[in-house]
């Protein structure tokens, strides 16, 4: 295995990033003022704290994404092995997708796919 190449690549990455930061830090002109340190929100000062509680909708979408992410993880080996097995593999994956489709139907019916 070309683990030497990986180590060289890793070291090159570290040297390039730190080198670029170090050089730009060395060369760039420095100025400091209060306005530079102010937090901004599209050019305006923020109203209230910047840490806000997110909506539940994000969480729901993340979990739906995760479920279908796992599904894809199982579909990839199926797709690779499909040619060697043939029609039975197709039926097997149809059952798999049908059961997951029920879940999608449930999410649809419950309005989980709507952004409120």
């Amino acid at each position: 295995m070309g683990s030497e190449a990986i180590i060289v690549f890793f070291l090159a990455g570290v040297v390039l990033v730190t080198g670029a930061n170090f050089l730009s830090n060395l060369i760039s002109p420095k100025s400091d003022s209060d306005a530079k340190r102010a937090p901004y929100e599209s050019g305006m000062t923020t109203i209230g704290p910047t840490w806000v509680q997110f909506k539940v909708g994000y969480y729901l979408f993340a979990i739906l994404f995760l479920v279908f992410d796992v599904e894809i993880a199982f579909l990839v080996p199926w797709a690779v092995a499909y040619k060697g097995i043939g029609a039975i593999a197709f039926v097997e994956v149809l059952i798999f997708l049908f059961i997951l489709g029920l879940g999608l139907l449930y999410a649809w019916k419950k309005g989980a796919l709507k952004w409120k």
């Binding site: 295995m1 997110f54 199982f74 990839v76 097995i85 997708l97 997951l100 879940g103 989980a112």
Partner: protein, 174 residues
């Protein structure tokens, strides 16, 4: 060379795992955990488990971390830092952890591991063929049961997320 690579990965894993546990800000802990999961994927690549490494990167480093970030952002007072535990509690925790580590290591070191012969291979095509095999030693039943598990996870998540919304609305009405 392989050994150096392994130690680099182990160092990244241990360092960021410690940082994740010891950080007092929740969001930073999650990001440290992301680095740990990426390093685990690196170890999988070293062992030639390419498919498992890809899954580790897409599902753990991609999906799970996004999920944890969203659930952290759902917390009310996210800007708060974790409080430092009392010294007695710290001592007790350290004692319990070292006891657990001692038990773990003693089991690992006393067990007589046997070197097994080469397995059926870790290529994606081999995994897929095994997964769809309905004969002896095939994994078609787990493959179909996984879809039921995913369905249950999806329904459960929707019920929980929608349920909290409903109760919040009720509280507002009162």
């Amino acid at each position: 060379m392989e050994r150096i690579l392994f130690y680099i990965l182990a160092l990244i894993m241990i360092g960021f795992a410690l940082a994740s546990v010891m950080s007092r800000r929740m969001l930073r802990s999650v990001i440290y955990l992301l680095f740990v999961l990426c390093a685990v994927a690196g170890v999988y690549f070293m062992m030639d488990y390419n498919f498992l490494a890809a899954i580790q990167l897409t599902i753990y480093a991609g999906g799970i971390i996004v999920l944890i970030i969203f659930s952290v952002l759902l917390v009310h007072h996210i800007e708060m830092r974790m409080e430092i535990a009392r010294p007695t509690r710290q001592l007790l925790t350290a004692l319990a952890c070292s006891l657990g580590l001692a038990a773990f290591l003693s089991v690992i070191y006393t067990y007589d591991f046997q070197v097994s012969g080469p397995g059926p291979g870790t290529e994606v095509s081999v995994i897929g063929a095994k997964l769809l095999d309905y004969g002896e030693g095939g994994f078609i039943l787990p493959f179909e049961v996984i879809s039921v598990l995913l369905l249950a996870a999806m329904v459960g998540a929707i019920v929980i997320a929608k349920g909290t919304k409903l109760s919040e609305n009720k509280n507002e009405v009162k």
